[in-house]
C-alpha cells in the first residue's frame, strides 16, 4: 500500500539560490484521481516556486472548494494555507493581502468555485487589483461532486452521463480582460513548458494575475464529446510559448533568441513572448480580447500571456496602505497617542 511518497530523492537534484531542491517545495501525496490535470498544475506551481527561489514560508496558498481547491495540500507543504468555503476565497485573499502585504498570495480555484458560486467575489478581486496570483484549474465540470456541467462547460460538450450542454460557457479569460485585470493568461495543465514560466511571471507581477488553466478531469470529462479532455485540448491548442527571466539573471542575458516581444515587470524580471506568434502583442487589451474571441469562435484554445500591464496599481497602493504589514506595526505606530491626535485636530480647526 502506498499512500506515501518515499523519502529518497535523486542524489543529484539541482539546488536553487536558496539551497533548496524541488523536493523542498513538495506537499503531501495527492488524493486526486490518477492522471487528473490538477496534479500537473500542482507540480508546475511547485517547480515555478523552486525555480524562482521563493522561500516557501513567504507564500500563502488560498482556495475554495472542489478537487481543484484541494490542490494546495499537494504542493508547498511548508507554506501558509487557507482552505475557505465554496467560492469565498477572494474575500479571504483580499483580507489577508491587506493584513500582511509581505506574503505572496497564491489562490487556486476551480471553474465551479470561480465561475458559479464564486463569480460575485471573483470580479471584485479584479476590480480591486488585489496583489495575488489566481489560478483556475478549469475542467468544465464539478469534479468533486461527480462531474456535473459547470458554468465554463462549452456549448455542445457532452458530459459523462450523456447529456449535451445547452448553454454557452463563461470564458473566464475574456471576463478578466473585460473587467480590467492587469495580468491575464491561459494555459494547459499538459504544457508545463508554458505553464511554469507563466506562473513565475504571475507571481512576480504586482497586482492581480489571473491564469485560466485547462485541466482535464480524467474521470468525468476525458471522454470523446468532452471539449476539455486531454485529446480535445491538444487537438485545438494554439500555444504561444513564453519564457520568464528573473531580474537576477536578466542582467547577464538581456537578449533572448527567438523572442519577439519582451515585457519588463516592476521588479525588473522579463517575460519573453517567443516567436510563434509574431503579430501578438500582450500590451493591448482590446487586441487581446479580439484574439481570444476569434480563437474561441474558431474552436481554438489560445494559450500564453494574453495581456499584461506591468505598471498597474494594486489595492495596497490604491488605498494608501502602510508599507509595513499591519501585523508588524507596533502599539505606538497603530495608536500614536494624544500628541498626534491633537495635531490632526489642530489641522482641522
Amino acid at each position: 500500500m502506498s499512500y506515501y511518497k518515499p523519502k529518497f530523492r535523486h542524489p543529484n537534484l539541482p539546488k536553487n539560490d536558496l539551497g533548496y531542491t524541488v523536493a523542498d517545495y513538495d506537499g503531501s501525496i495527492s488524493t486526486l484521481c490518477a492522471g487528473c490535470g490538477h496534479d500537473s498544475i500542482s507540480a508546475a506551481i511547485r517547480n515555478a516556486c523552486f525555480l524562482s527561489s521563493i522561500p516557501p514560508h513567504k507564500i500563502a496558498k488560498l482556495s475554495g472548494i472542489g478537487c481543484s481547491s484541494k490542490m494546495p495540500t499537494y504542493f508547498l507543504g511548508k507554506s501558509h494555507g487557507f482552505n475557505s468555503v465554496h467560492g469565498r476565497m477572494p474575500s479571504v485573499a483580499t483580507g489577508a493581502s491587506v493584513a500582511n502585504r509581505d506574503l505572496i498570495y497564491l489562490g487556486v480555484s476551480g471553474d465551479g468555485d470561480t465561475a458559479s458560486i464564486g463569480m460575485g467575489q471573483f470580479v471584485h478581486l479584479i476590480r480591486r487589483n488585489v496583489n495575488m496570483t489566481y489560478i483556475v484549474a478549469n475542467n468544465g465540470c464539478y469534479g468533486l461532486t461527480k462531474g456535473q456541467d459547470s458554468a465554463t462547460a462549452d456549448l455542445g460538450s457532452v458530459n459523462k452521463y450523456g447529456g449535451t450542454n445547452p448553454f454557452d460557457g463563461i470564458d473566464l479569460a475574456s471576463l478578466a480582460l473585460l473587467q480590467g485585470a492587469s495580468f491575464v493568461a491561459r494555459s494547459f495543465s499538459g504544457d508545463k513548458e508554458q505553464l511554469e514560466p507563466l506562473i513565475r511571471a504571475a507571481m512576480a507581477h504586482r497586482g492581480f494575475a489571473f491564469i485560466d488553466v485547462v485541466s482535464p478531469c480524467v474521470t468525468f470529462a476525458n471522454h470523446s464529446g468532452s471539449t476539455k479532455s486531454y485529446a480535445a485540448t491538444r487537438e485545438h491548442l494554439d500555444a504561444m510559448p513564453v519564457d520568464f527571466v528573473p531580474m537576477r539573471e536578466e542582467i547577464r542575458t538581456s537578449y533572448r533568441e527567438g523572442s519577439s516581444q519582451s515585457v519588463t515587470l516592476h521588479d525588473g524580471s522579463i517575460i519573453h513572448l517567443m516567436k510563434a506568434r509574431e503579430d501578438y502583442r500582450a500590451d493591448d487589451r482590446t487586441e487581446a480580447l479580439m484574439a481570444v474571441q476569434s480563437a474561441n469562435a474558431s474552436g481554438d484554445i489560445l494559450t500564453g500571456l494574453l495581456y499584461l500591464d506591468p505598471n498597474s496599481q494594486d489595492l495596497n497602493q490604491t488605498i494608501n496602505l502602510a508599507t509595513k504589514p499591519l501585523n508588524k506595526l507596533g502599539k505606538d505606530e497603530l495608536c500614536p497617542g494624544s500628541r498626534v491626535l491633537n495635531s490632526i485636530n489642530e489641522g482641522l480647526r
Partner: protein, 598 residues
Amino acid sequence: MRATDTSDPEYFHKVVDCQYACPAHTPVPAYIRLIAQERYTDAYLINWESNVFPGVLGRTCDRPCEPACRRGRVEEEPVAICRLKRVAADFKDDVAAMLPKAGKPNGKKIALIGAGPASLTVARDLAPLGYELHVYDEQPKGGGFMRSQIPSFRLPESVLDEEIGYILDMGVTTVFDTYVDSMAEMLTKGYDAIFVGSGAPRGRDLPKLPGRQEADANIHIGINWLSGVAFEHTKEIGKRVIVLGGGNTAMDCCRTSRRLGGEEVKVIVRSPFDDMKASPWEKEDAMHEGIPILDNHVPLEFVVEDGKLVGMKFDKVEAKYDADGRRQLISTGEAPEFVPCDDVIIAIGQENAFPWIEKETGIRFTSWGTPIINDDETFQSTRKEVFFGGDSAFGPSNIITAVAHGHKAAVSIDLYCQGKDLSKRPPPNVTLVGQKMGIHEWSYDSVPILDERKVVPLEDLTRSLADRMVEVELGFDAETAFIEAERCLNCDAQTVFTDANCIECDACTDICPTSCITFTENAEEPELRQKLMVPAENETQDLYVSGDLPTGRVMVKDEDVCLHCGLCAERCPTAAWDMQMFLYNMAKATPNLLEGAK
C-alpha cells in the same frame, strides 16, 4: 534514440543490478522477498539452483552484487545481500528430499579433474540428466580451495560438508587422494568429455630475495600453508609472524596465524592500503583481530642469523600515479626498515600450472599459462572434448565465478555429448508477470523503508582467537534479517511502459520521487541524457525510451535511481505503466532443476 526493445530479456536483466552483477545471475530480490516472508527454505532453493553453495557463499562470497546494488546509489550502503543468503541457509528446513536425484543413466561418462566449486557445479548440473560422473582430486575430500584454503573460522566444515554432500549424493563417483598426472592417459579412459577444474594451485614465491634459501625452514607459501592447516598437517607457528601480500590469501594467513600461536602478526604489503586486493571487510576483520597492516613496504631481504630467520628488511616507498593511472612505487630513500619475526608467510598470489597436460594432447596454452578457450560461453579447449572452468580457465578468481563457469561448461558438455552445435546456447528462463492487486496495492512491499544497513554480530574476540574452528560471524537473527530484507528495493519489479496507452498527462513524471521520468523530444543518447529532469550521468545505467507519443515527444526513464516504488504506475490513469515481476534464470544443462521437487 531507438525505442527500447524490452522483448530482449537482457534489458530488464540489467535493471536488476545485483543479479546482473552476480556471475551466476542469482535472482537476488526474489530470494530476499522470501526471507522477509520467513520462507527460508524457498529462499535457499532459489539460491541453490543458481549458485549451488548458498551456505558457503552466504559466508564467503566476494559479493560483486553489493557494490552494484541500487540501494548504494540511493543512500549510503547496499543491502547486505550476502549475509541474507546465509540467513536462508541458516534457517531453512531439511532440503535433502527436495533436491533432484541422479537421472536415468544416459550412457555418457564424464571425468572432472579437481573437486572445487567449478567441477562440483558441472556435476550438479549434469547428474540429473543421467551422466556418469567421475570426480578426481588429490585431496582426501571434495571442495577444492573452499576446503583447503578458506579457514574454518570463516566457513565451518559442517556447512561445506552439507552442500558438497548434496552433489556427491547424486551418484557421483569420487576418485580422491588421486593426483592426475597425465592428461594423455585420461584421454584414453573412454570418457565422452573431460572437464578440468583444477584451479590455480601454484603459490608465488620470492625465490631471488636474499636469504630465501637459508631461511627456508621458516618461510611458508601461503596457500600450501593454509591447506596444511586445513588438513591438520600444520598445527602451530612462531610468535612473531610476517605475512607478505595484500590479497585474501594474506588476510586468511594472518588471521589463521593468530589462532595458531602467532601473537605479533603483521601484514606487510608493497602497495598503498587502498590498492590492496583484499576486500575492505577482509582488511577490517584482520585489523579487528589486532593485526596491523603496513603498506608501502617493498621486501628487500630475509635476515638470517646463525642459520635462522630473525626478520626481514623493507624499503619504504611511495606510490606515484601517471596520467593513465599506472602506479609506480618509488623509494622514499629512507634507510631500510628491519622488522623482526620468527616466521614469514608469502601470500603474494597464485598461478595456473598444468605440468600434467602434455603437448601432444593438442591442448594449447596462452603465454600466461592459461588454456586457450573457444570463448567465455562454451569453455571448450583446443581439444574439443576437453573443457575448462573456474580458476583453471582464466586464472585465480572466486567461488561464484567458478560456479558460473561450471553452469556454462555443463551446458556445453551436454550439447557436445549430444553432437549438437555448442554455439547454439539455450536461452535463459524468463518470466514477466503483472503485480497489481488494487489501486494502491502491489503484490510486493513497494514502499522502501529508511533503515540503514544492519551490522552482522561477531563472536567474542578472545573466544574466536582461541580456536580456529569457532566461526567469527554469528549471522543475522530473524528480526534483523527481516529489516535488512525490507531494505531491498525489489529491482526485479520492472516498470513496463506501453506507448499506446499513454495520454501524456504527466502524472508519472510529477509523482516520481527520484525524478526518473521525463517526456521530451527525442535525441541521440548523449544529448538525451543531458535533457532529462536530472541529467543521467551514470552511463552504466540504461535509458528506457518509448516510441513516439501523440505530441511527438518520447518517454525517457533513467533507470539509475528508480526505487521500484510503483508510484508511476499507481498514478497512471491508463495503466501505461505497470509493475511486472521479472524472473531471470541463466540457462543450465538441466532446465527447471527444482521443478519436480517444488
